[in-house]
């Protein structure tokens, strides 16, 4: 990548990125995953439009006493239970009409509209925390790998220590402390119910996972011939890091990106399910599953719909990560016919 590829005699000068992109474009599964992911993200972005123009509901206000028109009949949103005594009320199931397409939750809110709004938060948190995680991991990995010596061993031990605590327990620790009191670090204040709290927690928890491969990559690049050559030419260290090391770490980061985002999405939903992730009134797919937990026997769709959404997005991200690795890593088995 750093050798000049503009020599006129090398006509088929395809860099690793180009090769990878061509491979990705030929990979049907990866194309399908891209398409699905794009559709899900677009439909989540359309959430306000869907709620206002198609479903005509407000997905954030309780509507327990409401009723809707179905095939010319007025139907209550809260209906008597199916049990023999007709005790208790349960929300309406899927209507398969534009109003309450997937039915209502325990407070009479439109699940389909909430699904789209919740997806915005879930996807936002997952992508933001994955980005933040990779930025920190790159910083730590490059510093540890390039400096070596004491700095490296301190940072590596720190990563070991963080990785030894089970991920969910570590995340629980951090969120219980930040959610109760918020975070006050000098001039920087974070409210307990801010979306940034889960973003920072998830980013921190998965940092060791991403920092290790980056560090390993930097270590091997440090002894590469072109880095030695640059050093012999008297190139300052910051230039070597910025222009020789970082571009070559980028493929590791690109492969890690979707995988970290998939794990972040799963962790976010688990934390929200335990009610220590996204805080009300904001919602995410995880809080929706928690809402549906009480209705799981009577109206399972309330919890099943967001779970399917999570599984679909995570599946797409895992497929993408896998095929990116296959096409970017020359040693991987995917390159073979």
């Amino acid at each position: 990548m750093n050798t000049s590829s503009t020599q006129p005699e090398r006509l088929d000068s395809s860099g690793p990125w180009k090769t990878a992109l061509i491979g990705l474009a030929r990979d049907n599964t990866a194309r399908f995953a891209w398409l699905c992911l794009l559709l899900i993200v677009l439909s989540c972005l359309m959430a306000p439009f869907y709620a206002a123009r198609i479903a005509h509901t407000d997905p954030f206000s309780a509507n327990v006493a409401g009723s809707i028109m179905l095939d010319g009949q007025e139907v209550d949103l809260m209906q008597p239970n199916d049990n023999p005594l007709h005790l208790g009320l349960s929300p309406i199931g899927p209507t398969w009409h534009t109003h309450y397409l997937l039915g209502a939750d325990s407070q009479g809110r439109d699940i389909a509209a909430r699904l789209l709004y919740g997806g915005r938060n879930s996807l936002l948190i997952a992508s933001a925390s994955a980005t933040l995680c990779l930025v920190f991991a790159t910083l730590i990995g490059v510093v540890a790998g390039f400096m070596g010596g004491v700095v490296d061993s301190v940072l590596s031990r720190l990563m070991d220590i963080m990785w030894a605590v089970p991920v969910y327990l570590f995340a629980i620790c951090l969120s219980i402390v930040t959610i109760t009191t918020g975070l006050h670090l000098g001039p920087f204040t974070l409210e307990g119910n801010s979306l940034l709290v889960p973003v920072m927690i998830i980013a921190l928890v998965y940092m060791p996972y991403a920092a290790r491969p980056v560090r390993a990559r930097v270590m091997s690049l440090k002894t590469a011939e072109f880095v030695t050559a640059a050093r012999c030419l008297g190139v300052p260290r910051w230039r070597i890091v910025l222009f020789d090391i970082l571009p070559n770490v980028s493929d590791t980061l690109v492969v890690l990106g979707p995988l970290v985002m998939a794990m972040a999405l799963l962790t976010e939903s688990a934390l929200s399910f335990l009610s220590i992730g996204v805080q009300a009134p904001a919602s995410s797919w995880g809080t929706m599953i928690q809402d549906g937990e009480g209705l799981i026997y009577t109206r399972p769709v309330v919890a099943i719909a967001p779970g399917l959404a999570i599984a679909a997005v995570v599946l797409c991200l895992n497929i993408l990560g896998d095929s990116l690795r296959d096409h970017l890593d020359p040693r991987s088995a995917g390159r073979e016919p």
Binding site: R157, D160, I161, V165, V167, I176, T180
Partner: protein
């Protein structure tokens, strides 16, 4: 060998110290709130606050506080939770541990058996329909949130299909001790075992397949093939044996993490009163001493288990031993 062992132990001690300092810091040295109020829970009286401040030494320096906390956790074991009527925390954790152990051990048996079978089969049938199907199923298994799968399985087995013969045997959610009723113990854990094992089956069969395929290019496998050994013999006796080294290392880490409380979501969904469930209850009571104690214990367990696995590896595989 002895020197390697000793240096590994020293490393372990260092990591243990680091973890305890980190967890202590997260709970009691984060800026913004008085740690006394954290331990006391909501609505504690000034007298209680004063007692706690004295007991935990919050009026003294941080290293002293850390020392008192460690003593209470590991030596005198009298760390009490104020949110929960002064109950001692450590016995509670020890009481919950067998439940977690039952859950994790059973799930481990399932995921080892299925992933060995699926991974070997996929590697042997590389590129064929079976291989693709196994790999796709594994990917789906990895992608499903475990707590959601648990909810759905609860719904199917407890309500929707509970009157059909195929799920009629499932007892209501909860834990039945092995010593009380072995059959009930088994039946009540079958569904949680399968739910917990699913994601790991996916991961392990994919890893095993990749390792086996990578090994098939090695010289010693080519030699075995040239020697005229049958493909199944090469696969089972040569490739699989080699691939199991990485597999067991992975297993040791995951198993320790799960047994140390990583199976929290499964325990919560199925109402199994294990270590993870204890943490969950502590969350809803804001019982910080209990949360800190579970995290500390699980991290200790994970670190010690990892060290044991490493030592075992050093004893089994001469190449891993550091050369003198």
């Amino acid at each position: 060998m002895l020197r390697a062992f000793l240096s590994r132990m020293a490393q372990t001690l260092f990591v243990l110290f680091g973890i305890s300092a980190m967890v202590f810091g997260v709970f009691f040295a984060t800026p913004g709130m008085d740690p006394t109020a954290r331990i006391a829970g909501r609505g504690a009286s000034p007298q209680v606050m004063e007692t706690i401040r004295k007991e935990y030494g919050f009026d003294r320096s941080l290293p002293v506080q850390y020392g008192i906390m460690m003593k209470k956790l590991f030596i005198t074991r009298d760390l009490a939770s104020y949110a929960n009527r002064g109950e001692h925390v450590v016995p509670e954790i020890l009481h919950a541990a067998p439940v977690t152990a039952s859950l994790v051990c059973g799930a481990a048996v399932i995921w080892i058996a299925t992933s060995l079978l699926a991974g070997t089969l996929a590697a042997a049938m590389k590129g064929r329909m079976i291989d693709r199907m196994i790999m796709a199923l594994g990917m789906v298994g990895i992608s499903i949130p475990v707590f959601w799968l648990g909810e759905v399985m609860n719904m199917l087995t407890q309500s929707r299909y509970h009157d059909r013969w195929w799920f009629a045997w499932v007892p209501p959610p909860g834990y039945i001790p092995l010593t009380q009723n072995p059959l009930g113990w088994f039946l009540s854990l079958v569904i949680p075992w399968c739910v917990l094992a699913l994601a790991f089956t996916g991961i392990y069969s994919r890893v095993l397949r990749a390792d086996l395929i990578a090994l098939s290019h090695e010289d010693f496998i080519r030699t075995a093939r040239a020697k005229g050994l049958s493909p199944s013999r090469i696969m089972l006796r040569h490739s699989l044996r080699m691939a199991l080294i990485g597999y067991t290392a992975l297993f040791g880490m995951d198993f320790a993490q799960l047994a140390g409380g990583g199976a929290l979501m499964t325990e919560v969904v199925f109402g199994l009163p294990g270590v993870g469930h204890l943490t969950y209850q502590a969350l809803s009571n804001m019982d910080l001493p209990l949360i800190m104690a579970t995290v500390m214990y699980s991290a200790t367990f994970v670190v010690v288990a990892n060290a044991l696995v490493d030592v075992l590896h050093m004893a089994l595989d001469p190449r891993i031993r550091p050369s003198r």
